[in-house]
Amino acid sequence: MSALSALPQDLPPLLWSGLVSGCLYGLGALGLVMVFKSSKVVNFAHGNLAGLAAFLVYGFSSGVLLNLSWGSAVALALGLTAIIGVLGYAVIAPLVFKSDLTSTIATLGIGLILQGTIQIVFGAEIVSLELPIPSFGFGLGSLRITAYDLTVLAVTALMIGGLFFVIERTRLGIAFRAVCSNPFASRVCGLNLRLVHLFSWVSGAVLGLVAALLIVPTTFLSSTTVASFMLTAFTAAVVGGFSSLPGAAVGGIVVGIAMNLFSFYVSPEFMNTFLLGVIMLTLNFFPDGLLEKAAGGRV
């Protein structure tokens, strides 16, 4: 009863912080969905690569590897992450057209290698990685909005806006959509499938890096936080239908809010079990994702 009467007090902050973290899950899920749509591979190395990228930023800016400013550390890590993304695709390139499952297994191999690299270079230590943003905040009713929240929303809007601009307005984006809807016909028309695949893998890696950088200040960075982030991104992708880009973004927000409500009202300890439940229920009742009817077939 008391929970019910406190609802107007509790709910807005829960929804708000769910929205903020949900944006980041959405970014993670977008990378997965782009790779899956174009090359039909479920990239299990996605989370490991994002984790390695965040660790690289930490290593370059903290003096473990180099002693750079935050901005140049991010730029360097971004370049390296893109290169690793390309390398990862190059390794499994011979498998991509053979079977979805074989190439999916191969991405697990890449993920294991990346995970091992994190453990060897950075050890099992738990580090914190802050964003260089001023710490201010203001209240709005029972809400407290911080600079971090606004940064996350702005960056997400920028990333998604940029991505959709590329996909909707540029030649590369048209090629991407063509390959997603019919790889064979696009090949007949002379499109370079590998180039489109590379575009999606590199964008996925960059999206993963951005999401990881933004999510780390709310938790810590360790080689295990990555796995749970990856699971959340996967759940968001499943909720969104796994082959719909708007679905992934919306799925991320839905999952973020649902997780917040679950951890506040039920239990914070069984988060992964909750995500399992969400995945199973979605697969059973909305096999094509929540946006199945709303979004139609495009993008």
């Binding site: 191999g109 796995a227 096999p287």
Partner: protein, 337 residues
């Protein structure tokens, strides 16, 4: 002359289409005989080994056998279902913890807890496979990742039953009066050999053929009344039962269960073992897979951080070689089905 030979080839391709079901007599009869003899030899050597060797080797071999069973369960799923699971650690843990919990809280021995573990594994596999029955295999892979990740938190927070972080011990003997190491070893070996025999029989049985048909030619199978979703659910339930058996054997052989042995990584490692054994369901393939995932962490304990890299590289290399053109594939044993 030449063209008539080509025609013959074409006709034989029709009878035995590539990648489709073939009769149990696989590539060459001589090769098959050779394999049978090799398996018999391996079993004979393993059966007399306890008389010759120390107890640590027996202990790690028992763990190998238990892990080989888990690897088999993954291979069965890939072979017959064309599906990948990285969450089989859940079903292994289910089997292991049912043995431990039935002993701790109800005082029941393996004679009762082993069948109970099998039944639980079957039901859990059934329940897990139902939501994704109509979807492509990748959804099952994603869901299985969630399954593996939720396991540790369930085990840790249901402390009253599972013993939390510390886990539980298993001390009851299967046969009182026989040496502990001996009965652990022979139970694991017997379970592995029996499962391999059963799988060899299953391969040629009506049910096995039906599942293979459902995988290779879903529409033809449907014409025979075998729906794809039925095939997928049943093969997953079978595989989960095997995994649960592996867990029960693992718990008995190692005499302890704890959440540490059932993480997402163990689920991935079972898949690594299965891929390294070329997803074979024979005794030798299972032993290779189980051996690799058991012995490498044990003997490379000092280089623990390199194990993921090693496994990842092995996974990539084996998958790439097995799927490369005919040039390299010649060196691999026949890959039917």
């Amino acid at each position: 002359m030449d063209s008539s030979r080509k025609q013959q080839v074409a006709v034989s391709e029709l009878v035995h289409p590539k990648g489709a079901i073939r009769s149990p007599a696989r590539p060459l009869p001589e090769l098959r005989n050779l394999r049978t003899w090799a398996s018999l030899l391996v079993v004979a050597v393993l059966a007399v080994l306890p008389a010759l060797s120390g107890s640590f080797l027996l202990y790690s071999l028992s763990l190998c056998f238990a892990n080989a069973l888990a690897v088999l369960s993954v291979s069965v799923l890939v072979r017959y279902g064309g599906e990948v699971s990285i969450g089989h650690s859940f079903f292994v843990a289910l089997g292991a913890y049912s043995v431990a919990i039935l002993e701790k809280h109800f005082g029941l021995g393996l004679w009762i807890s082993l069948p109970a573990a099998l039944a639980l594994g079957f039901v859990a596999g059934l329940l897990f496979a139902i939501p994704s029955r109509r979807m492509s295999g990748i959804y099952l892979a994603v869901a299985s990742m969630a399954l593996a990740l939720c396991l540790p938190e369930l085990l840790i927070h249901m402390e009253r039953w599972t013993g939390g972080f510390e886990g539980l011990y298993i001390s009851r003997d299967l046969v009182p009066g026989v040496s502990k190491a001996g009965q652990r070893y022979y139970l694991a070996l017997a379970a592995l050999v029996l499962v391999c025999l059963a799988l060899a029989h299953f391969r040629g049985s009506r049910q096995g053929m039906a599942l293979l048909l459902a995988r290779a030619h879903p529409r033809a199978a449907e014409a025979f009344g075998i729906t794809r979703s039925w095939a997928r659910i049943s093969i997953f339930a079978l595989s989960a039962t095997l995994a649960s058996l592996s867990g029960a054997v693992l718990a008995f052989a190692s005499s302890t269960v704890s959440p540490n042995s059932f993480t997402l990584w163990s689920g991935i490692f079972y898949l690594v073992g299965s891929v390294i054994g070329l997803q074979g369901t024979s005794l030798i393939a299972a032993l290779i897979g189980g051996g690799v995932i058991t012995l490498i962490p044990q003997y490379l304990a000092s280089a623990g951080d390199y194990v993921p890299i090693l496994y990842g590289a092995a996974l990539l290399i084996v998958t790439l070689v097995a799927n490369s053109g005919s040039g390299l594939r010649r060196f691999l044993p026949g890959k039917a089905a």
